[in-house]
Assembly symmetry: D3
């Protein structure tokens, strides 16, 4: 593993990442393929640097079908003025760029789930090569890291920002402070159980302040959720001292997912009828979804009942569901 | 053309459509193909008949990725008791059944857009054969026809029921009465300009009362919109005298789409940012959507401005947009 | 329609179809496409002509996944000596050649089911253009026509030869004589109900003697069924007086499919268990197949019962079955 | 047929085609599909109009993988100054726009070969709808029509401009004059035998002057052939009196394809070795191509011999060839 | 490698595998993908436990297109009564469940050949994760293991049960005793040469009694071969003392595949004519198959000759064959 | 890693590689898949051996869409007479045979880029297994190795032969001598910077004389470039002393690619217009290519300028280009 680290990344940035001023360019990653022998993946990147302040790394498109982050970040990258900035803002609006262009969660090239491909490999798949470049080149430059997520085409969430429960309580506290500054309608303290290959963990193990989000879903973005994303990014840069101005605070409610009982899975294929809408209260034992058989008009639907009392925090989005899909997530309200 | 009408339909129902009682079965349509030489399309159908009252034909899944109708109708078909009914209810929850099973707007077999395949042909494509069976076998039995639509995977609508402006003013009035009985949050008087191949027109030309809907979209169904669909179907059956009981009225607002200026189309590919949400007011000239280039971080977005004052009645749903896509529909408020 | 008949066929044979001797060549049909702007479909054809005797047209590959016919005919075409022949033998071992090369029932180019594409069109799809060439160029030359079929990849049959019940009883009698000469283990008198677009009907309407077969299935050919095909073709040419030598008679049993009750269709998807094998006796009411749900281990299988007493003449071949598939055909024994 | 002509075209131009000045816009053709319920095909168009002179209609991308025309026309459309023009220049750089975007000969939507889809239908496929719009809206405006072709991905040609031999000898003479003005290295007098569905014939039957080209191939464009295309378009506009300035004449040689013997077709699949290069002399009987079997190293290649003496005017481009592909075209030199 | 073993399996059973009684449920394996961000593979499993007797693990669908095993096991799982059992029966009717649902040999997700994916990896592909769960969770519970195979869609076998020749002669003897108890028409002593990644080897290295089968093929199941599978499974459970009752013995013949000379491979593409049927005798040097060229009617077929004297034990199933396919396997008769 | 080397290759040659005389056969590599459970990849190979002279290994089809090498080598393999040879010639005309059959750069089976898959793995992907066989079985037999390349479907080159700059100057000199003997129009001394996984490096590290080429491109072969390939192979065998006769010398010019500034990459999608043709002179700063937007007729093209003075040595071939594609390579002229 150690020797891998010595292999240089195949990525070449078309801009000087450490130069003062505003730069727009690409991370160019060679990708030889049937329809372009000497082709490349070109990942848009912007760097706005002014003086010696802290560095924020802002990313969207970790999953390619989640849109609030990319909209907020393409907008921010284009409109940030170098004189507004004290320090450095690195913006990659679409981290898994091949997935983003295809409008899919994973990469159409290698089916790579970017968020499970960390720390990456310089001689791996395209997705792993991008991860490796972040791990070895971009993350070491950063002090604060914001990674935007939403539910994508197949899930929908109440909009929240989140940070992880960490063993380093001082680092943890800085994360929750940053979440509070982000000011999403909901906030979450997440306990990561299965952290294998996650970007989050890679960032946190480097000691950075890390904020992530879930801001809606369904493979679309609403004006309301885009506003949350834009305000959150600006608030976070202000919180970090990179942008001047006062944080625009909004009321937030703290949410928890205490155990595996939050999650309900389908055991049948069919047409899903979610019985309540996102954010509505749920009591344990209540039918939260039904799955109608589509093969006949006289089959009784399968019923899925809540195992906890709380509110509907996330749900399966498409009208059809397959056995094994997560159909609903019940969150519990944290005492602030 | 006349001779075509004499060709028998290849569809065989597995139930007797005219028998009293509750029957659940299939419309079996032979479909010979590589993976089944003697295969068939099996379209679920339920008929609930009691006495000599009027006949209602209720359909969903005219487009295969619209879910409020199928959920309401699979549920209704299974739960309707023959003793509740005076007359006949024919329910086909998924008219374009191959499309519905695939979760796509059009048929995966022949790319047929069911709603543009009427009156159909007995020797045509699979989609045309289904249309022909409705035209020649099911519609002649009906007095009242309800066809559920939603926006599907690529559009989202404020929820409304609608009937058409017709030259036969008595028929038109009966249609609007039925819409009022449906009691969706929004109601619309539609002037159909391009009626080529439509189910609606086929039904109306037979002199039937016809109600259609748009009840959301995005390829999902929310509890709220499913409730509208269920209440609307029951209300309509009560209005027709087939179900006993009082119509459950809800306040509705009447909406209009007066001209082609309602519609805005993209002239660029990119990442779409809709600037306001469905149902919100719009004034003419306002930027209602922006299209961000995804190829670079420094390109200014294209702006799309409203041509009318009203409210946002529908919008493009997916996060990515292509040149030529309808990005927004502005509706105007009708004076009641 | 009449004017269409005047449009010349786009097919060009690379050999002179009316020349004496043995000729091997192609029917070349231009087919412009993305991967060959000036490409063609090249259908192998052999013509063996000697003197002024009758003409037989022998075809296989009408459906592209049926193999006894093509094996027997490629073999016969290569090995027939001109001196053996009195008259003309035209052999097209693979009529729907694109389907045959792909190993599929229908054409991969246009999904055309050749056996339902007659009489064809010179300006239609590739499949219709081939049909038109047979209708206008090859069939008029023929006195006797043999078209080989088997069950293909999705059906399996007890091996039989067949001719149709016709209104012209003299023509009908000549057909049954030819079937008897073919000497398959089973023989059938078929009553065609749905003859739309069939090759059979096109041939018979020209007054030709027509024999067809079903010689097994599953997308394979066994040595035993290939032997039946080879013997049958030679017997038929002897019967027609084109080949010298005595017909090699074999015992045959006459089979009937008297009504739609012969056919059983699945109403569920699943794993099919056919309870008896081809050729075994069936009594009405007996479970002939069960469909096991593959989604759970505790679901009772759907049972399919015979509606007639007879024997299992054909069955669904693949292990998985879809709702609407024909799962079994019960034939009845004819009194000779 | 007559009644079809009364059906309005579904195409809406986003610009006023008859306004004076320079206009850039789209022909918007609604195209409802699974990934965009209310989507459209947007075909770029430019109109440059000044005064009452003649009208030229210039098109490329009739086949989507032919590039000299689109390069010359995108360039011309952008750079033409209204003051240079006397009359009107209508430019559609990519007629079969869906094919052009996909880089394929035919449309990825409906496999339509645009050049065989005329006169089109307003209620047909997307390709037929585009053809219909040209037939009914654009062509009636034109006096001179230039349609650029090249060999596409699967053929390669010596570069030539061409006009057809016509029964109206005065119209024919105007065509050849226009070809001469175009000044390609080679020029051709074409006798169209199979004119079914061609754009060429549709244009000529309206009495217009029509010039077409073949300017290379292989799915690429060389600087040399692009120069021929640009010069030819400008020369033609000068010849028509729409652009001022002197025609830039170049020497041209007149070429002929006198009969079907010009064309050689493969009767085997394999690896093709063309024995001479484009433009080189050929004598009848010479091996012009060999097809090597790729299945074994010891199989002798099939040899294809020229049937005429002349020069190699066109050839199969890809390294692999299929039975039925046109492998070579021998042209003969016309006496001027 | 050792450390991998400590990574927990991502599979969660929905039932308690060690509880007494009859349980039907799933092995749930998370599988995040474009069409379900939080989806899972749900592998049906049944456990019937009563008392402290031995444990049998019965599996089918190791390859997804082999059907005798799954039919016998879905049937057995549903119908086994807890009171019949002394010990434990674990039934997984479709081990490579994604392949089984797709009707393919390998997994449609990762192209994994389950039978070559052992011992598996908890962090590998979906197929490897399933293998790992069997290796670490299910196999350690088992005393006797039966894994059903057939020829699948592309091979056909005479029906046999088999065990391996092992270095541990006592274990080997127990295997052959179990094969004898199974009582298939044919039995085989197999010498595994290439055991890389095999389930068989993984099971045997744990010291378990292991029986496998080949019970037909072609991607179908006949009533006769299903009967063999059902009787074999019941016999084996009786032999193991888990089910009461007497073993239903049938005559079996012992077959051998002594060397690589048993196998014949195609060196050409084409139409295959197998000259004898399964189970028929073969003498060395005899033509057992011919491959007809499908490109021409005059090409002599390639002949494939037997290298050994014995009987035809297996053959290529589809009508078309490709160079490199195994076309025939000659088995030799063992002296009992 | 060491232990892997002990795993035997799964490849079986059908001929004895070390036998005297001419042998034509296959490298058979088992490849179990859905459409052939016991299928294989069959790679054609010829060995011509006479006496004890040196051994040359000649290969084409390392990338499957490059044709000069395969044409020259299928031709040479078939026509080489054993009496002409002193030593051994091993010819594999299509190393990545699955890619060659598909006409694609990489393998359709595993997307393997053969030239980046060395030294390979006996238990890896199909592409890696082929590489492993070359590394462990064929290369150890060779003294001189010639591997033919061309530009493939997406690049085009001026025709050259090349050898690498090596640390072993004696080996390097032997390479350049061999290049000179090859006598292509251009010759190159290549400095490999990124040698990860290359065949070239694997060969050179074994101390062999290695020559490679780029002989055109576009996925075709011209008579002229095939002649270069044939002459080069013969010349090299003469140079090695394996064939008798005098080397047929041709003038060659030495070319260099001194730095990354040789390469220009697209930063936009669009229609590419290369402003000069292959082999033409370029001066630094000149526009060598323009990329036209295909979305509108009024967008200015992006310009790509040369960074060095030299000549156009290679270019992007297809008419459409994607951001990240290499559009042009400028080579510099070496002082001889």
């Amino acid at each position: 593993m150690q020797s891998l680290k010595l292999t240089p990344s195949p990525v070449t940035p078309t801009i000087d990442l450490d130069k003062t001023g505003v730069q727009h360019g690409f991370l160019r990653l060679p990708y030889s393929r049937d329809d372009s022998a000497w082709g490349s993946v070109m990942i848009p990147i912007a760097v706005i640097r002014n003086g010696t302040g802290p560095t924020a790394l802002l990313t969207g498109g970790n999953h390619g079908d989640e849109y609030e982050g990319p909209i907020a970040l393409f907008d921010l990258a284009r409109s940030l003025n170098v004189h507004q900035v004290s320090g450095t803002v690195i913006i990659v609006p679409a981290m898994n760029y091949p997935a983003f262009c295809a409008g899919t969660r994973t990469s159409p090239i290698d089916k790579g789930n970017m968020n499970r491909s960390y720390p990456g490999r310089p001689d791996g798949t395209i997705t792993q090569k991008i991860a490796d470049y972040f791990t070895r080149e971009l993350l070491p430059r950063a002090d604060v890291v914001l990674d935007f997520h939403s539910g994508g085409k197949t899930l929908d969430f109440v909009p929240f920002a989140a940070a992880h429960i960490l063993s380093d309580k001082e680092q943890e506290a800085r994360g929750f402070e940053a979440v509070k500054a982000f000011s999403a309608p909901w906030s979450m303290r997440m306990l990561e159980i299965d952290a294998v290959g996650m970007y989050d963990t890679t960032v946190e193990e480097m000691g950075k302040v890390f904020v992530t989000t879930e801001l809606g879903g369904g493979g679309t973005a609403r004006a309301e959720t885009v506003t949350i994303a834009k305000r959150g990014a600006t608030n976070l840069l202000r919180h970090a001292g990179i942008l001047a101005g006062k944080i625009e605070h909004r009321e937030t409610r703290w949410l928890d997912m205490p155990s595996g009982d939050c999650f309900s899975f389908a055991e049948d294929d069919g047409l899903i009828e979610t019985m309540i809408d996102l954010g509505e209260p749920v009591s344990a034992g209540r039918v939260i979804a039904r799955i109608h058989s589509i093969g006949r008009t006289d089959a009784a639907p399968a019923e899925i009942r809540a195992k906890l009392t709380g509110l509907l925090a996330a749900r399966h989005f498409p009208g059809l569901v397959k056995s094994g899909d997560c159909v609903a997530v019940v969150g519990t309200i944290q005492s602030a």
